[in-house]
Each structure stands twice: as C-alpha cells, then as structure tokens.
Symmetry: C2
Subunit: 335 residues, 2 copies
Amino acid sequence: MNNPIKIAVDAMGGENSPEKVINGIHIHNNNIKDIFYNIFGDQNILDPLIKKIKLPENKYKIIHTTNKIEDNDSPLSAAKRGRDTSMWMSIESVKNNHSDAIVSAGNTGALFVIAKLNLKMIENIDKPALSALWPNKSGMNIVLDLGANIECNEKNLIDFSLMGSALHKSLFDNEDAKVALLNIGSEEIKGNNIIKNTYQELNKKKNSLFEFKGYIEGNQIMDGDVNVIVTDGFTGNIALKTAEGTANFITSELKNAFNKSLLGKLSALINIKNLKMFKNKLDPRLYNGAILLGLDKPVIKSHGSTDEIGFANSLNVCEKIIKGDLIDKIKKNII
Amino acid sequence: MNNPIKIAVDAMGGENSPEKVINGIHIHNNNIKDIFYNIFGDQNILDPLIKKIKLPENKYKIIHTTNKIEDNDSPLSAAKRGRDTSMWMSIESVKNNHSDAIVSAGNTGALFVIAKLNLKMIENIDKPALSALWPNKSGMNIVLDLGANIECNEKNLIDFSLMGSALHKSLFDNEDAKVALLNIGSEEIKGNNIIKNTYQELNKKKNSLFEFKGYIEGNQIMDGDVNVIVTDGFTGNIALKTAEGTANFITSELKNAFNKSLLGKLSALINIKNLKMFKNKLDPRLYNGAILLGLDKPVIKSHGSTDEIGFANSLNVCEKIIKGDLIDKIKKNII
C-alpha cells in the first residue's frame, strides 16, 4: 500500500466527464484527508477544472493523455487500440503499484477486458465477478455476479460467496457477512444442479469469513436477513436491472400522483422533508457503481450516468476497500 | 364452449378460503352476467356463505367434497392422494367439458402437477409455461415462464412467445402483441447460445400473431415498448419476485416517511385521493395470479394470499380467456 493511499482516477469516462470526476474528487477530498489522486486525462481540460476546486498541489498528479475509450467502443477494439488511453494508463498505474485502486466511470466492458489483460487473477480464483451494493431494510447487500459470467459452476459460486463476504467486511467492518444463494424457492430441492451442489458445499464448509444462510428468493433480497447474495451473472444482471426499473416506475407514478392537483403539489411541499428522507434512503448515488472482484488489485466502476456525488461515493468505496485490505482478506480465505 | 360459459372454481384453496372465493364470485357476478359457476368444496361450509351473497340458484352448482389439497402438500403427495379433493375435481370438470376454465387459489405446485396429469398438452407444444400479468407504463405485460421450467431450449422460448401473445390478444383485444426476449444487453451478441438462436429464429419467422422486437433488459420491462416478455422459468421467477420485493420495500419506506411527523400524516390525508390513484395503479390485485399455458384447457392460478377483489379479478381473467378463444388462438398459430 502506498503512503498516503493513492487512487488512480480515469477522469475521461462517462457522461459529463471530466467535470463530474473532478468535482467528485473535490467532495471526497473535503471529507477524507489522507488520499492522493493520480488523475489520468487531458491536462489542458483538467488543469482549469482542478484550479476551480482549489485542490492542493500535494494531493494530486495529472498524468496527461489525450486519448480515451469511448462509450460505444467494443471491448475488443478498446483492448486493441487502448494502450495510451486514460482508462488503460490508470489500470497500468495499479499494476505498477503506483496506485492502490483504480476507478473509472467509462465503458464497463472495456474496463473489464483491459483490467483482465493487465492485472493478475488472485490465485485459485477462476473467474472475476462484478459486484454491487444494493440497499436492504437494515443496511446494504453485496450482490454478485452482475454480468461478468453468464454461466457459472459450483467453484465460481463458492468463490463469489467468499469474495462478496470479504468485500462486505471491508466496507462494513462491524457487521457479520451472511451469504445466501439466489434461487426460485427456499426448499433444498429447488433450482438446477449447480445451485443444489453449491448449497451442499457451502453447508459443509465452515469458515471464519461468513455464515451460509441457504437460499433466498427474489422478493427477499431487500429483507435484510442476509447481506451477501450470490448468483450467476445472467440472473444477477436481470435481477438488478429489474429492481432498478421497478423503482423508477414506482417513483415516476408517485410523482404523477402528486402532480395531479394543486392540493397534491402543496402537500408534497409540506411533506418535503419526509419525502427527502425517503429519497435519500433510496438514492442510487449512495450505492453507485460496481466492484470487479477476483483480480489482485481493486477495480471500481462508477456508473457512467452518475453525477459528482455518485463519483465521490465511488472514491469512498475505493478508500474503504484499500483500508479494509480487501485483496488480502480474499487471499487469506480462498479455499 | 358451454352456454352460458361455465367456470370451475376450487373454493377451498388459499388463505381465507372459501370466504374470499365466494365473495369474489359475488363481485364478479355483479359485473358480468353471463357466467355459471361450478363450485367445488364442502357444501356445509359453502351453503351459508352463498346464501349470504344471495347468488341466484340458476347461476351456480355446488359439487360437494370435504377433501382438499393443503398448502404444505408436496406436488407428488397431492397427486397421489388428491383424487377426491376440490382441486382435482375442478380440474376434472374442465377435462370432461363440464366447465370451460378452472381457477384455484390453492397450492401452485399441486395445481400444476394435477393439471398436467389430467389435461392434454396442446399438440406441438413441448412444455407448459406459467405466465402472469405485469404492469407497464402504457398497459399490461404478459411475462412467461415464471418457474414451471428451469431450463428451456429454443423451441420452448418460441412456443412461449406464441402462447404469451395469444394470451395478450385474448385479454387485450385491441392491442398488438409485441414480443421481447429478456436478456442482459440489447446487442445481438449478448446472452447465451439458446437466447441468441431464439433471437435468430424469431427474427426470421413472420407471423400474424405478434411482432418480434428483439431483446430487452430488466430495467425496460415496465417501459411499455413491448408487452409479451419471454424468458426461462428460473430467470422469470427471479425477475418477478425481485420486482415484488422492490415494490414492497419502496412503499414501506414511503409509509415510514409519511408517518415520521404529524405534518406528514396530515399531508398524506390531504393527498389521499392522489395516493389512492397511485396505489390503484400498482394494486397487485389487479394483475393477481398466473395462467398456465400449453394445456388444452385454461388453468388459472389465483394468488393464495389475495382477497376477494383479487379473486374476482382471476374470475375476470378466466372469462376473458374463454371469450377470447385463447386455446384456439394458440392451436391455430403453433408452428
């Protein structure tokens, strides 16, 4: 680990970048004092933005490049022509131990492929997984895989249980990790053979990192009884996006209901503090982004469409992962 | 088809049955005049309930049995010992053409197995599918399969497209059926081989029943651009239940927000009409239950936990399916 901790920031990826990235650094730096930012991107654009937020000179370094990965680049073409882009160079920076973690709001597929090309897998982990935070009634879930692996075998799902638990422990130090397999019923006989075999294996293996709680169904994800939810990348991606779509549908219907009458608008005004609390609890910026697990360096993907607050939260996740020794936790517990 | 249309009603399944079933018939009969109900259950319990709702004698017949399938019966034990239960006898009633459709709020697995044991598959359909209504911005989706088949091949998914479209046309006569495959990306290269092959097949096949619109992702289910959403039973079950869980989570958080202060409670009162409209639009009783497709008779599953309004809506679905010639529509269009 570098001292101070260094985060490699791809400043050029995602909507409204690099403005939101630099403003995100501003918010993060105001809250957390012991971080150094290696910022990758076009110096001519970055310099005036950084001047504006008055980031102290000893807190950052710009590594200049005019090239960047575009959102519509295919992962393959990004990998082929990407070597001097801000994304590639920021990943290289963790590879060479110049930074401790990398964050980008750019093209997910490209980030995934370039990270896999440059970084080593943790020994005995077969496949990396994409994980994310997902709120529940009592705190936060880690859910994985969210699309990196369409098909997973028993070993993959067991690895995901372990990596997800290590991530949960890094982010929420004083909570116990409780793992569940996402399935279509809670009885032991439900699901396909891979899930059933994984259940048996996890039930047998005792370990100090997590407690295995069996199956949960889709409607139990947010109950808060477990906090690490393991599934294959196809199912996880569909579940996460379905939840997103449902949340958007409900909040837009709710807005319509309030806007239907003057009285409605008025009472929404009266109620503004309560509605704000409601919105805050569900604010997707609070659990913005995804974490790529299984590589020997932390790779954090911020949502392309998030804003500066969302990006600041991704920086927060980087910092917690480094301080929480995520990679070490995985290495020590891998079976 | 019987004249008048006859619906076989398993009166003994689900929570608060047979009360909610009989009250559901009451609501349904008040709105739709040309239906006859074959009611299966314990005459001693049913008689006083029916007397209470003053259902005219020429609108129903009680077929007496004291046996019933319990919620915790395994499908296998239900099939073994079920012959003189209200569920089995009501399915037999459609088998023998004494009724045109069957509805039950009882044990889903048992209903599924007993229906498969007693009823024929529609020719050229390999697997039956469980489908349900799911609201979107502009109307209603049909989503299938929701758990009957954990693994599906190309032929199954094509059959589901066709059966789902026939169901949509039966229920919403003046709308065009627009089919999409649920996937983890909208590009042609995404997904596993079965999904990709199905995409190619559906793209080639022109038919008069539906338009094929390609892939959608989980967050697009409620957009209203398509209305028949096809997936395997594992993914469909997880997606539906995740949406349910998310909706419950958000509405309970919203309730908390409103209840936080006196002012909040007051403004909720002021806003009661708007909130009611909001609630109505999302009322799960409006799209209560599931429809088993692929058998040569309509089998409708009402939610076990629904109330009389939900059950009345299931009767409504029965009636529309019969009048809309669902089974004929499937038979004529099967490839």
